[in-house]
Assembly symmetry: C2
Homo-oligomer: 86 residues x 2
């Protein structure tokens, strides 16, 4: 059993409903869902022949790629802070 | 026409092949694909009744959520650097 308060939020992504359970606020979950929906529509417009399944996987690939890029940037910023503090 | 060199990399994600075209190196694309594959398997083990399509969308939701978290952290680190430089 966990003491962390969890919210259940139902969102619509690419015409399908999902109930997301987690510690994030409903408004945060809706923001994430709308970003995923936007990205799926963008990838779909560039590749009109993709089925929904491949489209969703490529959206995940895209998001993980963005994540790794910003994570790299964090490492550089942390080094800079370390240097400024010395 | 663009001068940016693009590579074509074929990867396997959750039993399906994808050819990813982009400026990233083949090794980077393979890393991203293996992270997406791992995340799909993790979400699938927690929700064994999900179909692949929903699983892929939830993986994208997860990745975008992680992306927003690290992006927030970047903003905080940048403010700290600004403060240290003053």
């Amino acid at each position: 059993m966990s003491d962390i308060k969890k919210t259940r939020t139902t969102v619509d992504i690419y015409g399908q409903q999902y109930t997301i359970v987690g510690p994030e606020s409903a408004s945060h979950v809706r923001l994430v869902a709308s970003l995923v929906d936007d990205k799926m529509r963008e990838i779909s417009s560039l590749n009109p022949n993709l089925d929904t399944n491949k489209l969703a996987v490529l959206t995940a690939v895209n998001a993980v790629n963005d994540y790794l890029k910003v994570k790299d940037r964090i490492e550089r910023l942390e080094s800079e802070i370390q240097r400024l503090k010395e």
